[in-house]
C-alpha cells in the first residue's frame, strides 16, 4: 500500500497538469477558431 503514497499524488499531478493546460488554452483563445487554425498551419509566410 506504500506505493499509493507516490502513485496517487503522481496521478493527480498529471491530471491537474492536463486540466491546467486545457484551461490555459481556453483562456488563450485556442478554441476560438478551430477551423481557421487547422488551415493556417499549412501556410508558409514566404511564398
Amino acid at each position: 500500500m506504500d506505493s499509493l503514497l507516490i502513485l496517487i499524488p503522481a496521478a493527480l499531478t498529471l491530471g491537474l497538469l492536463g486540466l491546467a493546460a486545457f484551461l490555459w488554452a481556453l483562456r488563450a483563445g485556442q478554441f476560438d477558431d478551430p477551423e481557421g487554425s487547422a488551415g493556417r498551419i499549412l501556410f508558409d509566410d514566404d511564398d
Binding site: 500500500m1 496517487i8 476560438d32 481557421g36 488551415g39
Partner: protein, 785 residues
C-alpha cells in the same frame, strides 16, 4: 489546381474558358467575366499572392460587388494614433481566403494587425493613421470579392460566447474531477470484499473529498445560480432538485468520511454535474450558432444611407446616425432608411414589407414615405422627418415586444415536469429520512444517508438530459437544411400546432419581381444582356429569367429611366417612347430596337415553386391552412385560388391579424404564423409559434421562433415534422427517466443503494436517453439518402 487548368485553357481556345478570378464560364472576349473580377485579380497579382488561386480547394473566388457602406464611424480608438475595426466577412470558404486577406492587408505597413477568424467570420484590424482609412482597408477586402459588414451588430452574441466559455470551463473541471474521483471510487468498490483496510478507504474518501468538493462548488455554479433565481421568483425548476441533491450528497459524504464510514457519494455528485454540464453546453452552443448565423444574415443585409452634404456631394452615413432634417438620397433599388417627405423626384415604392400591399405605390414631391419601403424606379430625395426610434418601423418593433410578452408565459416541458417532480422527490426523501429515524430506529446520520441516496437516485440527471439532447440533435439537423431555430421552447410549441396562417407577399410568394410575360427568346437574351449592367430590381429579375447571359458591352445607364446600348433601349415606357402603354398593375420594362416591334416585359411577385407540395404535405399532416394578407382582395383571392387555399382574408391590418389569431386561440387552436413583413411581426409574436423566411425584415425575424432560408416553402413542413418527432422523443425520454426512477427509488428507500449502484444507475439511464435522442439523426440520414 485551378491556375493550372486555366493555363491550359488559355492555349486551347476551343474549350470553354473561365474567368481568371471567379472561375465562371466565359462567353465574352477577354479573361474576366466583369471589371470587378479583373481588378480583384490585379490586386492579388500585384501583391504577389497569385498562389491564392492554387490554394482554393474545390471552392471558387467570388465576384466582387461594389462596397456601399461607410465604415469610418465604426473605427474604434485603440491607443495614440491607432485605430481598430471589426468586420464581418462573408464568402470565406476555406483557409486560403483567410490567408489571402491576412497576407494582403499585411503588405500595408500602416496595418499593425489583421486577423481573420474562420469560425466566426470576424476580421479584426488595427492600423496607424486616421479613422477614414477604415474605408480603404474594408474596400480592399470587398474588392477581392468578399462581402463585408460592420461587426457591431454581432457584439450582442459576445455575451453568449462568454457564457458558453464559462460552461466549457465548468465542464473541464467537472470532467477532471469526475475522472479522478471515479478512479479512487473504483478502488474503494473493489476493496469492499475486505482487501482494502479501513484506514486506506478513509484516506481515499478524504482524497475524493479534496477533489470533489471544490469542483462541485465551482462547476455547480450555473445550476446553483439558476435554482436560486427560480426560488427567488417563487417557483421551482429542474435546477432546484439538482442543486439540493448535489449539495446534500457532498455534505453527507463529508460527514461519512469524518466518522470513517463505509460509503461516500462524492463520485455521484461530481459525475452528475459532469453529465448535466455536457447537456447544457451542447444546448447552449447549438442555440448560439443559430443566433450567430441569423445575426450575420441581418448584418450583411443592412446597408448604410447616403445623405446630401452641405457642399452638395453625397456622403455615406450610418443609418443609426441619421437625424431629422437630413436630405436622404435614395437610389433605385435601395431601401429607405428613415421616415420622411419626398422633396424631389417621382418614383414608385414597394411597401410590401410594411403593409403586405404588393402593388407599388407612386410617389411625387410632398408624399410621405416610411422607412422599410424599397424605391423601385427613379432616384428620390427625401427630407428626413423621423429616424431611428421615432420611425413607424421602430413603432412596430415596440408592438412586437409587447406581443412577445404574452408568450414568455409559456413554460418549457422540462420545467413543467420539474414543478410536479421536485416536490414529490423532496417529500419522498423526507419521508425516508423521518421513517427510518422514527420507525426504523436508525441514528439521524444513517437516516440522512438513506435520504441522500434517494435524492441522488431521483436526481433528474436523465430528466435534465432528456430535453436538451433532443433539442441539440433536432436543431443541428434543421440547421443543415438552412433552418435556424431561435427560441429555446420553439420545438415544443411547434409540435403542438394544428392550424397554419400564412402571410402572402414574401411568404407564399417570393417577395421579389419575376418575369411573368411570355416573350421570344431572342429579345429576352438581348434584354438580359443589357440588364446585366444594372443593379435595379427589375434588371436583376431579367437576369434571373435568362441566367448566364453575358453582359452586353457599351451600355449607358440613364438613372431612373433605363439602359441604352446604341439604338437599343431598355427601360420605362416613357424612356422607350411608348405612347399609351397598357396598365395592368404589373411592373414593366420595355425593349425597343430599331425597325422592330417594342417588347414588353411584365413582372409580378411569383408563388414559391413548391407551394402546392408544401400545402398538400401540411394537410396530409392534419393541419388546416389559412391565408392572412394585408394586400388587396383581388390579388389575395388570385393567390388563394392558385395555391388552393379555401380560407383567406384580405386587407387585414397588423392589429386585425393579431385579433384573428386571438380569435383562433379562443377556439382552442394552436396557430402557427408564417410571415415576413413588418405588418406580420406583431402577429408572429402573438401566435402560438411562428416562422419567417430569411428575407424578412429584422424585426420580423427577431419575433419568429425559426427562420428558414431559400426559395422553397417545404422547410416549414420539415420544421413541423422534426418538431413533432422531437417532441415524441422528449416525451419518451422523460418517460424512460421516470420509469428508471420508479424502479430505483424503492431500492433507495430500503437503504440498499450504495455509491456503486447509484453510479451504474445514473450512467446507464443517461446513456439510454442520449441513445434514444440520437435516433432523430439516424432517421434523417436515411430519408435524405
Amino acid at each position: 489546381m485551378n491556375a493550372v487548368t486555366l493555363g491550359v485553357l488559355a492555349t486551347a481556345p476551343a474549350a470553354p474558358r473561365h474567368c481568371l478570378h471567379c472561375g465562371e464560364t466565359l462567353r465574352v472576349a477577354g479573361d474576366f467575366c466583369c471589371a470587378g473580377c479583373a481588378s480583384a485579380r490585379a490586386i492579388i497579382d500585384a501583391a504577389g499572392l497569385g498562389t491564392f488561386y492554387r490554394r482554393l480547394e474545390q471552392s471558387r473566388a467570388h465576384r466582387p460587388l461594389p462596397l456601399e457602406a461607410d465604415f469610418t464611424s465604426f473605427a474604434r480608438d485603440a491607443g495614440p494614433g491607432l485605430f481598430a475595426l471589426d468586420l464581418l466577412v462573408d464568402g470565406l470558404d476555406c483557409a486560403a481566403c483567410v490567408w489571402l486577406i491576412e497576407s494582403l492587408l499585411a503588405r500595408n505597413p500602416s496595418i499593425l494587425a489583421a486577423r481573420v477568424n474562420l469560425s466566426t467570420r470576424r476580421l479584426a484590424l488595427k492600423w496607424r493613421g486616421t479613422p477614414a482609412q477604415a474605408n480603404d482597408h474594408a474596400g480592399l477586402v470587398a474588392a477581392l470579392g468578399f462581402r463585408i459588414a460592420p461587426w457591431q451588430p454581432m457584439a450582442a452574441s459576445a455575451q453568449q460566447d462568454r457564457e458558453a466559455r464559462e460552461l466549457l470551463r465548468c465542464l473541464a473541471i467537472a470532467g477532471f474531477a469526475a475522472a479522478n474521483v471515479m478512479l479512487l471510487s473504483v478502488a474503494i468498490w473493489s476493496g469492499h470484499d475486505g482487501s482494502m483496510g479501513d484506514a486506506t478507504r478513509t484516506l481515499f474518501h478524504w482524497l475524493s473529498a479534496v477533489i470533489a468538493v471544490p469542483a462541485v462548488a465551482f462547476a455547480g455554479r450555473p445550476f446553483f445560480r439558476s435554482a436560486f433565481r427560480a426560488l427567488k421568483a417563487g417557483h421551482t425548476n429542474m435546477d432546484v432538485p439538482i442543486s439540493i441533491g448535489v449539495t446534500l450528497a457532498c455534505v453527507v459524504s463529508l460527514h461519512e468520511t469524518w466518522i470513517g464510514a463505509e460509503h461516500a457519494f462524492f463520485d455521484s455528485a461530481i459525475t452528475l454535474l459532469f453529465f448535466l454540464l455536457i447537456g447544457r453546453y451542447l444546448d447552449r452552443r447549438a442555440r448560439g450558432r443559430a443566433r450567430h448565423a441569423m445575426d450575420a444574415l441581418l448584418a450583411l443585409s443592412a446597408g448604410s444611407a447616403h445623405i446630401l452634404g452641405d457642399d452638395g456631394v453625397a456622403i455615406a452615413r450610418r443609418i443609426d446616425q441619421l437625424a431629422a432634417g437630413d436630405t436622404l438620397l435614395v437610389a433605385a433599388g435601395e431601401r429607405l432608411a428613415a421616415d420622411g417627405t419626398v422633396i424631389e423626384g417621382a418614383s414608385s415604392l414597394d411597401a410590401s414589407l410594411i403593409s403586405g400591399e404588393s402593388l407599388p405605390q407612386s410617389v411625387a414631391p410632398g408624399a410621405k414615405v416610411v422607412a422599410g419601403m424599397v424605391n423601385l424606379r427613379a432616384p428620390l430625395r427625401v427630407r428626413v422627418t423621423a429616424a431611428g426610434d421615432r420611425t413607424v418601423l421602430a413603432g412596430i418593433v415596440r408592438l412586437v415586444e409587447a406581443a412577445e410578452h404574452g408568450r414568455s408565459k409559456f413554460v418549457a416541458i422540462a420545467d413543467r415536469v420539474a414543478r410536479a417532480y421536485a416536490p414529490v422527490v423532496h417529500l419522498t426523501a423526507l419521508t425516508a429520512f423521518v421513517g427510518w429515524m422514527l420507525m426504523g430506529g436508525l441514528a439521524w446520520d444513517r437516516a440522512l444517508l438513506v435520504a441522500t441516496a434517494v435524492l441522488i437516485i431521483t436526481c433528474p440527471c436523465a430528466l435534465a438530459l432528456a430535453v436538451p439532447v433532443v433539442q441539440v440533435v433536432a436543431s443541428t439537423r434543421l440547421m443543415r437544411r438552412g433552418v435556424l431555430l431561435l427560441s429555446p421552447t420553439a420545438l415544443e410549441r411547434l409540435a403542438e400546432i394544428d392550424h397554419v396562417a400564412f402571410d402572402k407577399t414574401g411568404t407564399l410568394t417570393l417577395g421579389r419581381p419575376e418575369l411573368v410575360s411570355a416573350v421570344d427568346r431572342e429579345a429576352l437574351l438581348l434584354a438580359a444582356g443589357i440588364a446585366a449592367n444594372s443593379r435595379h430590381p427589375l434588371a436583376i429579375a431579367l437576369q434571373r429569367a435568362a441566367p448566364g447571359t453575358p453582359a452586353v458591352a457599351g451600355v449607358l445607364e440613364h438613372a431612373g429611366q433605363g439602359l441604352q446600348s446604341g439604338a437599343t433601349r431598355l427601360g420605362s415606357a416613357q424612356f422607350c417612347g411608348i405612347i399609351n402603354p397598357t396598365d395592368d398593375g404589373h411592373s414593366e420594362l420595355w425593349l425597343t430596337r430599331p425597325n422592330r416591334a417594342a417588347v414588353r416585359f411584365a413582372f409580378a411577385d411569383f408563388l414559391r415553386p413548391d407551394v402546392d407540395v408544401a400545402l398538400d404535405a401540411l394537410r396530409r399532416d392534419g393541419l388546416t391552412v389559412e391565408l392572412l394578407s394585408g394586400d388587396r382582395t383581388a390579388v389575395v383571392a388570385g393567390v388563394a385560388v392558385k395555391a388552393g387555399i379555401l380560407s383567406w382574408r384580405a386587407e387585414v391590418t397588423p392589429a386585425a391579424k393579431v385579433g384573428r389569431l386571438t380569435e383562433l386561440a379562443r377556439e382552442g387552436k394552436r396557430v402557427l404564423m408564417v410571415g415576413d413583413g413588418l405588418n406580420d411581426a406583431p402577429a408572429l409574436a402573438a401566435a402560438h409559434a411562428s416562422i419567417s423566411p430569411a428575407t424578412a425584415a429584422e424585426a420580423t425575424q427577431n419575433a419568429a421562433d425559426a427562420v428558414f432560408q431559400g426559395d422553397a416553402l417545404l422547410p416549414v413542413v420539415e420544421i413541423l415534422r422534426v418538431a413533432r418527432r422531437a417532441n415524441r422523443l422528449v416525451r419518451q425520454n422523460l418517460l424512460l427517466a421516470l420509469l428508471y426512477n420508479l424502479a430505483a427509488v424503492p431500492l433507495a428507500i430500503a437503504g440498499l443503494v450504495t455509491p456503486l449502484i447509484a453510479a451504474v444507475a445514473m450512467s446507464s439511464s443517461s446513456l439510454l436517453v442520449i441513445g434514444n435522442a440520437l435516433r432523430l439523426t439516424g432517421r434523417g440520414r436515411r430519408e435524405a439518402a
